[in-house]
Symmetry: C2
Subunit: 354 residues, 2 copies
Amino acid sequence: MTRLLVSLLLTAGLGTAAYAADDQKLIEDANGFFDPIPTMVQAPENNAITREKVELGKMLYFDPRLSSSHLLSCNTCHNLGLAGTDLQPTSVGHGWQRGPRNAPTVLNSVFNIAQFWDGRAADLKAQAVGPMQAAVEMNSTPDEVVAVLNSMPEYKERFDVVFSGDEDPVTLDNVAKAIEAFEVTLVTPASRFDQFLDGNANALNDKEKHGLSLFMEKGCVSCHSGVNVGGQDYFPFGVVEKPGADILPPDDKGRFAVTHTATDEYVFRAGTLRNIALTAPYFHSGQVWSLRQAVQVMATAQLGTELTEDEVDSMVAFLHTLTGEQPQVDYPILPASTDETPRPVLTVPGQENN
Amino acid sequence: MTRLLVSLLLTAGLGTAAYAADDQKLIEDANGFFDPIPTMVQAPENNAITREKVELGKMLYFDPRLSSSHLLSCNTCHNLGLAGTDLQPTSVGHGWQRGPRNAPTVLNSVFNIAQFWDGRAADLKAQAVGPMQAAVEMNSTPDEVVAVLNSMPEYKERFDVVFSGDEDPVTLDNVAKAIEAFEVTLVTPASRFDQFLDGNANALNDKEKHGLSLFMEKGCVSCHSGVNVGGQDYFPFGVVEKPGADILPPDDKGRFAVTHTATDEYVFRAGTLRNIALTAPYFHSGQVWSLRQAVQVMATAQLGTELTEDEVDSMVAFLHTLTGEQPQVDYPILPASTDETPRPVLTVPGQENN
């Protein structure tokens, strides 16, 4: 045990020394695994990004009238003031019901391979309409969403402008397109890590560089790479050792529910580590509140190794450098409801507490 | 009946004609009852307004971590995208519980004589800490609020700067001061009505001018005058004729609960009519969704008169001119939680559904 520790410390120490002597090599190595957040984000397929579409999407993103209660918006669970999350273990929706999983951040989500923890939505457009219709989330229906929007002349006019080629501009599909257009803008460039990837060796301090080198050497990069330092593919949670039932609840089999393939049991999309210092609690179950503990869980469950305190410190220091510039948005003034706007409905099917 | 209608129409017609012939007189008369929203708002007593305090107040206003669930913020019920209200009959808070009264708009609330429908808070500072602690609203405690803020270095630094003279800057009282400072900025100037008061006779069309003259002639101004066209004093609801129990629930005796004076039974602060076209549903009970109906209820309950359809139309048209420029705010990026930040608590005392 003592020998193992010493050996680990030596390896780590050597790694750091080597990299400190050669920042350029660390930058090159890192660029082999990661990409900086691009300054220009490519428009999604079949959804040209226009200023008017982004503005409409922002309104829809913040509008609680897209939920049946008129109380919950996209921003409730993906709060742009809180790094695009709700800081809850698992989200809370219609009727104060808890959803089954932790809300992934909307920030940089355009760079994920697919959306949701199990990747069941191919893109942001497909994702956007899921929570709107989920009974434990916004609890609405496509017809209700369209009726709400059609009741407000300002929304109708905006849809007419944004989707001017369409015979019937106010549709759920166009709602999704507008929200996707807004979400594509929610990226967090210029983190210190991005600056480092870009060649600025001073953007990280020695401890953070040590953390980065460990992150690559220990194998974290097997699942967390690319622009989002994660989010790019699916992996089993508990490759080496399954974590406890609180962290990996047996009933949630992850991607298996999407593919019905046995090898996809307990497989999840690797979470993005972008802005990870801002988005506790961690994992799909949201039961781990400390970033230190999350790093330790990953080391034992995925890598079958125990990190030293110093290694954990360095890794956590590195992860903090992934915090980028948070998107600045003007809070939208939403179109006025009219006498035709459907009224909010708070009742929860099967409950009589309202 | 026919004679009465004809007589009312004639009166209304004469009034309009007279005013049309003399816009200047209408402007003068209106200036006798109302004041435009000032371009400079006076700082509240003992609460100097600084840029840093307003910014801190905005953060607190939008921060759901001031509620025990970390899900509800001031902005939940006083949504700045929805004219400072929640568009609910009565507000919904912790545990999906319905509160007893309709959320009054935060917009222009600095001009009200006091806060809440019953005036139980003397000013915005006193108001701000009420919902934070109400079990059916944000369900927090002063200690919890302070603990949450003290757990985040960025908040502590901001309080240190804003309340630099204080030995202990992070207090509930300073939270209230900062929120008040932000709320003081939430005014809606430059409505067409303000432009008219300011001497621009063309700011209102003939129908709206007719509505304004009716508003003064019929006696609406007895309760709705001043800067906020209401909000300036307390009046019994149902002076002439009590409305139905849905609109005036017998259990809510209004200001009586504050003063314990028999004459204050069913007495409420007159609602501001500023931005009234944006803030349905109406009255403290929030059971009337249409502005037309609200005008009709007021006419029978407070004035003992029935308005013609044409009069209601004109009055509603006039009320629409009270919509001012909505405050534009940058959505705040909130300080990051830390390992010390207290965790969200969703449980509702007496319920076991969480």
